[in-house]
Symmetry: C2
Subunit: 548 residues, 2 copies
C-alpha cells in the first residue's frame, strides 16, 4: 500500500515532460503527492506516562491528521492516559493485576524521598531506596509484560490488525518485544536513559567520554581532566548497572517470551528509528547515527490567545510584564515551608506572576501572584509580556521556553531536570536554584538576573533562532520518519553494522591484539637472529684468535 513505484513515477514524469513540459510534470507530481497523502498507515502506540504522554500525543494527532490509523495500547492502571475520553485515535486497553493507585503511590513515594529526604540521607540509604523502588518498578513492568504476552485474545487481536509500525516510549516495558512478536518495524521516542546506557548499548550511538558528558552529570562538552575522569567512570558505572539490570531481569524475560536466548538490547537494537526529544539548540554537538533523529520541541506551537480574565491580569502588569511559574504536573503539593518561601519571593518582584499550583494556598501569597490549578503554559510563554519562566526543567516546558525565547529560573527536582537546567545554565539562558536550600532571596535574585541582565534573554534568543532555523519542523521530521518506516517496511539502510559486532570487535581489540602479536613476534625473531649472528661472529673470532 505504501510502496512508491519509482519506475512508474519515472515513466510518468518523462511522458509528462515530453508532452507539454512543466504543467503536466507538476500535475504528475501532484497526483503522486495526493496518492501518498491518501494512503494511510496503521500505527500501534505504546505511550509514555506523565509529560512523555503529552509529547507523544502531539505526534499521534499529527498522524491522525495525515489519515493514519492510530491505536494506543494502554494498561488499565495508566496514571496519565485517559482512555475513557474520546479521541481521534483509538485505545486498546489491557487489564493488569494492579491499580492506578499502586503505580501513582510508587511514583509519589520515590518523588517525595528524592525531593525532601535524599539530600539528608546517607549514600547507603539513597542506594537502598533506589534499589527498592527499581525493584518494585521492574516487578510492575514485568507484570505489565505478562498481562500482554499471556493474554491470547489481545495478542490475536493485535496480530489481526496488521500494523505497519510500532511507535513506543521505552518507558513502556516490552514494547520492542511486542514489535518483534508482531513482526512490525519499531520507532522509539526518548529523551535519554541514565548514562545514555540504552542508546549506547542497544542503539550503538557512539559517546566518547572525552567530550560527551554522561547524563545526569551536569558537565558541558568542555571538561577538565578530573571532570573527564568522573565522566569516564560514570559511563562505566551506568554501563555496568544497565548490563546487570538487563541480565537479571529483562534478558531472562525476553528469552522466555522469544523461546530462545536473547537480550533486551538485541530486540530493542532492531529499532529502525530513534526519535530523540532534543536538538542542537539544547545538546552539545556529538557524534550520532543515521537512524537517530533529533526532534526536540516537536510539541511547540505559536501561542493562542488567553482567556479574557487571564489576559486582563497579564495586561495589568504594565511594562514590568509577567513571570510564569510551574513545577510541572507531578508536583501537586509542597511543604508549607517551601510554599511560603516561594510565595514570599514572588511577592517581592514588580512583575505579575501566574503560578500553576494545585496544593494548599501559601499564607504569604502576595497580591501580584495568582495561583491556578492549570495554566495554558505554551500560550503564556508565547505572550509578549512574559519576562521569565520559573520551572522544574521538564523537557516539554524547557522547549516551549526555547521556542518562545523566554529565559528561565530552574528549580530542578529529579530525573532529567537537573541535566536540562544545567544545559540552559551553561548556555547562558538560565539561573539554577536548589529546591531544598533556596531562600526567598535566591529566587528573587534569580528572577532579577534573568529579567534585568540582557545576556540571559540574548542567549535564549540565540537558542530560539537555532531551534526555528531548521530544514524541517521537528514534528514534521518525526512524522516523516514514522511514515518512511511504514512506506518502506523499516529503515534498515540507516542501521549500523555495529549491532552485529561484539564489544571487543567494535573497538578493534582483536585486531590490535593480532597486530601487536605480529609486531612482538617480528621483534623477538629479529633480536634472536641478531643474537644468533652476533654469537656466531664471536665464536668465529674466538676460534680464529685461538688458531692464531
Amino acid at each position: 500500500m505504501w510502496v512508491l513505484n519509482a519506475e512508474v513515477l519515472s515513466v510518468s514524469i518523462y511522458s509528462a515532460t515530453m508532452v507539454s513540459g512543466r504543467l503536466l510534470l507538476s500535475m504528475a507530481l501532484l497526483i503522486l503527492c495526493g496518492c501518498q497523502g491518501t494512503h494511510s498507515g496503521n500505527v500501534l502506540v505504546f505511550p509514555g506516562e506523565y509529560s512523555h504522554w503529552l509529547n507523544m500525543r502531539v505526534i499521534l494527532e499529527e498522524l491522525v491528521e495525515r489519515n493514519h490509523s492510530v491505536t494506543v495500547l494502554v494498561c488499565s492502571a495508566s496514571p496519565t492516559v485517559n482512555y475513557t475520553k474520546p479521541e481521534d485515535f483509538s485505545f486498546k486497553v489491557y487489564n493488569v493485576p494492579f491499580e492506578r493507585h499502586d503505580w501513582e503511590s510508587l511514583q509519589e513515594d520515590f518523588l517525595n524521598f528524592w525531593i525532601y529526604e535524599a539530600q539528608n540521607a546517607s549514600m547507603l540509604q539513597v542506594g537502598l531506596k533506589i534499589r527498592e523502588v527499581l525493584g518494585s518498578m521492574t516487578a510492575l513492568q514485568l507484570s505489565m509484560c505478562d498481562a500482554m504476552f499471556h493474554n491470547k485474545e489481545l495478542m490475536d487481536t493485535l496480530r489481526q490488525w496488521e500494523f505497519d509500525a510500532v511507535l513506543s516510549d521505552p518507558m513502556m516495558p516490552c514494547s520492542d518485544l511486542m514489535a518483534d512478536a508482531l513482526d512490525v518495524p519499531l520507532i522509539v521516542s526518548l529523551r535519554f536513559s541514565f548514562g545514555m546506557a540504552m542508546e549506547r548499548h542497544c542503539g550503538q550511538i557512539p559517546a566518547p567520554p572525552s567530550f560527551v558528558p554522561a547524563p545526569p552529570l551536569t558537565y558541558t562538552d568542555q571538561m577538565s581532566f578530573f571532570e573527564r575522569v568522573h565522566n569516564f567512570v560514570t559511563y562505566m558505572i551506568h554501563s555496568s548497572f544497565f548490563s546487570i539490570h538487563c541480565l537479571q531481569n529483562m534478558d531472562k524475560y525476553y528469552s522466555g517470551i522469544k523461546g530462545r536466548p536473547t537480550t533486551l538490547c538485541e530486540i530493542m537494537g532492531k529499532a529502525d528509528i530513534w526519535l530523540i526529544r532534543t536538538y542542537w539548540d539544547f545538546e552539545y554537538p556529538r557524534p550520532f547515527l543515521p537512524n537517530f533523529k533529533f526532534v526536540g520541541g516537536l510539541h511547540c506551537k505559536p501561542a493562542k490567545p488567553l482567556s479574557k480574565a487571564m489576559e486582563e491580569f497579564v495586561q495589568s502588569s504594565g511594562d514590568d510584564g509577567i513571570v510564569v511559574f510551574s513545577l510541572g504536573s507531578m508536583i501537586k503539593n509542597l511543604t508549607k515551608e517551601r510554599g511560603n518561601t516561594i510565595a514570599t519571593a514572588l511577592g517581592q518582584i514588580p512583575q505579575k506572576v501566574l503560578w500553576r499550583y494545585s496544593g494548599e494556598k501559601p499564607e504569604t501569597l502576595a497580591p501580584n501572584t495568582r495561583v491556578y490549578e492549570w495554566i495554558p503554559q505554551n500560550d503564556l510563554l508565547g505572550h509578549p509580556k512574559t519576562k521569565a519562566f520559573v520551572t522544574h526543567g521538564g523537557t516539554n516546558g524547557l522547549y516551549e521556553s526555547i521556542y518562545h525565547g523566554v529565559p528561565m529560573v530552574g528549580i530542578p527536582l529529579f530525573a532529567d531536570q537537573p541535566d536540562n537546567i544545567m544545559h540552559m545554565k551553561n548556555k547562558g539562558a538560565a539561573v539554577m536554584v536548589d529546591f531544598n536550600k533556596m531562600t526567598s532571596k535566591d529566587i528573587v535574585d534569580g528572577l532579577n538576573s534573568v529579567i534585568n541582565d540582557p545576556s540571559y534573554k540574548a542567549s535564549m534568543m540565540r537558542l530560539s533562532r537555532i531551534h526555528h532555523d531548521q530544514p524541517m519542523k521537528p514534528l514534521d521530521t518525526a512524522v516523516f520518519w514514522i511514515e518512511f518506516v511504514m512506506r518502506n517496511k523499516g529503515a534498515k539502510h540507516l542501521r549500523v553494522e555495529a549491532h552485529n559486532l561484539s564489544w571487543y570487535q567494535y573497538h578493534c581489540l582483536d585486531v590490535a591484539a593480532a597486530l601487536l602479536t605480529i609486531v612482538a613476534l617480528v621483534i623477538v625473531v629479529s633480536i634472536k637472529t641478531c643474537i644468533f649472528c652476533f654469537l656466531k661472529c664471536c665464536k668465529k673470532t674466538k676460534s680464529r684468535q685461538k688458531t692464531e
Copy 2:
C-alpha cells in the same frame, strides 16, 4: 542583514493571532518568508575541477536563483572552469605562473600511467610514480596559494567585497586559509579523501575501523577478521601519509601565511559545514557529526526531452531498449585494442547503444551503436527505454543512475571510481568489469546480467526509492546550510569539542592511564599491607614461640 529577529516574529505572530486568527498569522509568516527570500548573501566560491565543478555549479545556479551574489575565484590556468563564458555568477580570475596545459598534462600523464601501466608495474614503480605526481601536484597547488596570498590587489579586493561565506572544494588548495584570512565562515564540499584522512583528522568524524571501510578499500560494512585487520592498517597508513604530507608541505605554508605555528587541520577544522556528496542510498550506515550533511545527487533532475534525431534512434530500439555508455569527460582516447574490445561487445547485444566517446572510431563498431562527442547523460538515463548504464563510476553519473533507477555495468578507472562501483556491486545494483583485463565477452555478460536478471533492476530501484524518499531534496539541503551559515555567521553549535582535544585526550588514554595507575597503586598498597601484616603476625608468633 541575515539575522532573524525572533522576538519581533514572536510578537507579530502573537498580535496576528489575537486579532483575527489564522489569516493574519499566515500573512505574518508570508511576510517573514518574503523578507528572508529577498535578503541576499555574498558567497565566494573555490570550485573543484572536472566533474567536481559540474556538481558545484548546480549549487551556484541555485544560490543565484535565490538572489545570492556568487563570485567564483578561479586561477588563469583552470582546465575546466570556463571563465570567459558569461554566467549568472561572476568570476574573479587570478594569474598563476603556469599554463592550463601544464595542469592538464600532469593529470593526463598520471591517468595514462594509472590506467594502462600501473597494472604491470611493480609496487616500487607505482609508489615512485605516485610520489612524483604528488610532488608536482603539491608544487602546483602551493604556487596557486602563492598567487593568491602574495597578490595584494586580489586580497584587498576580496576583503572589500565582504563575503558572507566561502564555499570550497578542498581540491582547491588554501581555500580554508582564504576563509580564515577573510574571517568568513567556511563550507566545504567533498566526496571523500583517501582513507577519509581529511574528514577524520580535520573534520573529527569518527570512523571505527571495525565497520566503516576506509576508501579506496572496496569492503562493505560487514568485514571478516582479516578484512578488519586490512582496514585498520589502511587507516593507519593513510593517517600517517596524510600527517607527513601536511607536516612537510601544508602546515609549514599555512604557518607562514598566518605568521604563527598552525596546521592545515586547525584551519580546515574551522569549517562550519561539510557537504558530503553521497547519501545513505550509497553509503554504508556509519557514525557522523551534526555539521556533516549528506547531499549526494544534488545535481540530479528529471529527464528533459531528447533531440529529435536522438529520440528517433532511441525509439528504434523497440522493446529491447537502449544502453548508455560513458567513461566520463576525462577519458578522451582509448587504445585501439580497448576501443575495439568495447565496440565488438556492444555489437553483440540486442539493445541500441549511445556511446559518449571523442576518440578515434573503432573499426569493429556495429550498426546498433552510435558514438557521440557528448550525450545528455541525465536525460538518457531518465528515458523509459534505458535498460543499463555502462560507466567508469564517477559520482555524478552514479547518482544519475540511482536517481533514475538504472542498473550499471561499472568499468572503474581511478580515484573514487573503484570504491563507487564496489558500493553499487555490493548493493546488488551493478556488475564490475576490469578495464585492462576485460574481454568483449565480459562486457556482454555484464550487460546481459544487469538487463535480464531482474534482481539488479530491483536493487537499483530500492536505492532509488531511498534516494527520493528524503525529508528534503539534496540540493535544498545543501543550499539551506549555506544560507544558514550566512544568516547566522557560522554554525558553531554543530561543531564538536573534539577539535580542541589531543588524540590521547579524545581516546581517553590520559584518563585510562590515571585510572590504571590508581588501580595499580591500590593493588600494590593492599599487597604491601597484607605482606606487612603477615610478617608482623609471623614475627609475633615466632617471638611468642621463642618466649615459650
